[in-house]
Symmetry: C2
Subunit: 422 residues, 2 copies
């Protein structure tokens, strides 16, 4: 099936080839990168007859190995999904190239001209699970930002990813770019992930995408710098002055619109002064949408149709139609609760009190803090980045939704005319 003609290479040989390819990509203008993206989009749509059978094989293996229904759904590619993947690649082609952007600049008193410009990282490693769409997405984002990508996509999607990477490599070659700019290391199995984490000096940054377990493993074991795209134990706090219709709409949207994603609401905190006023409507609407309420005692005194919350519930990212609910004494206790249980992804306060809004924004230490808005807005697309690499919950390098510019580093350029330091 495969058109690959390259003899079997060692892991290090593959990474060195990625490094060489990254040097070509770094010097590549946007027009050529966009031509490669267009070729990838075309290849994805035109080769459904190669992709879908490989995907069917992965799905059959998955069913045999007891892959959950949710993961099976993530794994599945059909013509419609392939078309929307191609559309996403074409969208990346329309984005501004971040490489070469001047971040800061000045002329020093001695005449030296300084400028800090964006440059690609070089080689990006990505470790993910059972999501063939990530293969296309991340290849497109890496390419546009001038980076080579080395992918470990996991055994569950191995056949699909092999075909996708082969198509991407063919598209790269068709415009004269090196095939090695996008590679999979799936043939090394679990050892591929382990070796990627050890490859300091050959891989510039490692991005894990997937379960909390996967991310924790990479964060703890990697010697390569990691960008952590973390879990979301996301909170909304209904303050004493919260508008009822905003409270109902924002909680409903945050929890129910797409419960399986990281920006979905997991814990609702309610000021004791507004609990009786707001909870019946807010929780009633959620129950009507099939949400199971895990509530503390004070909540259940107001809204009986709930199960008792356990200590574990406060730190659980359900990713399902479940919600933890707690009545708090006020803003201080809400902030304290968030400090203790949040994963510092997104938190929103619903309030009409300016002082409380500003305190919440200042004192809650999360990647995204909101006033009177749905937590579902924490998203690269919604933020206008045009694409999303993931949502960083770490503080180093990138925090919150990451777009193309978060896939770049910078370098300082100094232009002189013989200056020496006195």
């Amino acid at each position: 099936m495969s058109e690959t003609v390259v003899a079997t290479r060692t892991f290090t040989e593959k990474l060195e080839a990625a490094r060489d390819a990254s040097i070509t990509l770094a010097a590549c203008n946007a027009a050529l990168k966009n031509a490669a993206l267009e070729a990838i989009a075309l290849a994805v749509v035109d080769n459904a007859d190669r992709i879908i059978p490989a995907n069917q094989l992965d799905l059959a293996n998955g069913r045999e190995n007891g892959l959950s229904v949710g993961l099976q759904d993530r794994l599945r590619l059909d013509e419609k999904r392939l078309a929307s993947l191609a559309e996403a690649v074409r969208l990346v082609a329309t984005l501004v190239d971040p490489v070469g952007e001047s971040v800061r600049g000045k002329t020093l008193p001695n005449g030296l001209q300084l400028s800090q410009v964006r440059v690609p990282f070089g080689v990006i490693g990505v470790i993910y699970e059972a999501r063939p769409n990530v293969t296309i997405d991340i290849a497109a984002l890496a390419l546009k930002s001038g980076n080579a990508a080395v992918l470990r996509g996991g055994s569950a999607a191995e056949n699909t990813n092999r075909v996708l990477v082969d198509l991407i490599q063919g598209a790269l070659a068709s415009v004269g770019l090196p095939r090695d700019a996008v590679q999979t290391v799936d043939e090394f199995g679990r050892d591929g992930a382990r070796q990627l984490m050890q490859a300091r000096g050959l891989v510039d940054v490692l991005i894990p995408r997937g379960s909390a377990d996967l991310i924790n493993t990479v964060v703890n074991e990697s010697k390569v710098p990691v960008i952590e795209t973390g879990a979301g134990v996301v909170h909304v706090f209904l303050d004493e002055s919260a508008d009822e219709s905003w409270a109902v709409d924002i909680v409903q949207n945050s929890k129910v619109q797409r419960p399986s994603v990281c920006n979905a609401l997991e814990t609702l905190l309610v000021h004791e002064g507004s609990a009786a006023r707001l909870l019946p409507a807010v929780l009633g609407e959620l129950r009507a949408s099939g949400v199971t309420i895990h509530a503390d005692e004070r909540t259940r005194a107001i809204f009986a149709d709930a199960v008792p919350a356990t200590e574990d519930d406060w730190s659980t990212e359900y990713m399902s139609l479940d919600l933890s609910v707690r009545v708090v004494d006020g803003l201080d206790q809400a902030i304290e609760h968030i400090r203790r249980y949040s994963t510092h992804h997104t938190e929103s306060i619903i309030t009409n009190d300016l002082g409380n809004a500003e305190r919440f924004l200042a004192e809650v230490d999360s990647a995204v803090v909101m006033v009177n808005a749905s937590t579902r807005f924490t998203d690269g697309g919604e933020f206008g980045f045009g694409a999303e690499v993931g949502i960083s919950t770490q503080k180093l390098h990138a925090r919150g939704p990451m777009g193309l510019s978060e896939l770049t580093s910078t370098k300082w350029i100094v232009r002189g005319s013989g200056q020496v330091r006195p």
Copy 2:
């Protein structure tokens, strides 16, 4: 001697106290932080009679344990050095507070107002060796950027650092800030460093300062994100068209002005077309300053007063009056040499050829790339940052000289009026 009244605390208790203090600092305005800096500066100068005897004790122990003369010099504090440390702290007080600075912002079509603002990291861990000046420097920089600092300064400076941290804590308390905002964990010995590297979730970023060995250990073992301040195998390339006086002055300045620092020149590459014209003057001047030339054959054919270069020399950071010199075929070979041996700190081309200058700037992948300037300019002070945390040779988060803003993260603030995602 010590005024500390706190009962002995566990490592985790100390880090939790640092976390609590960091919350206070994050909300602290610049005026109060500057008052604390002034109190620290005063305390350093006024307490020479406590600091110097402790330092003498460390020096005596150092001599007994065979500490090198160079490290003994770094360890030594006298009244003059204390005065200049205090001056450096006062300089930090004059710098603009990075916290709260708006990095990006926009209003989305649905009316949501987004802004990305600088926030402190939280708790910064610093692991360093035998340099009590770092204790004061990093405390001042951390404080100004709203971060708590947990310091592991090493056994060689333990007595000095204990007094310095006690004075800093007293200064913090005198203006009403928490003493725990600056702490040493030296009492835990080597285990303190090990535990800092494991303290993911309690320490937000770890900065190693010191030898390549120390930095490599931290980079490889830390589970906490690290900012790597790396070694400098720094190159100058004399192109065919290099001006002779610029070549002589820039090489001399880059190598001789302060050979023990990371931005000092270590390897000189010379275009074969200019070697006969430039090397006699360039290397003659260096020899007159006592520099030992480690040269390849083509160099020694032109300039005999040199020892043969070994393969190891090309990757050696001498930090002394030694220089590796190689004649190359041209720009391509120069770039190839740099790609192979450089630590990606700073490289400079001396040329009058515009195309070659631009190629060098674009293709050399180092933190700082220069044309016609001394490599000694890679420095936070020279770049106008007012202070320097170190020079990052990694690509994540910060690259090149780091000032106060590199000690911050960001968060996104979203202000809405009931928006939900369609």
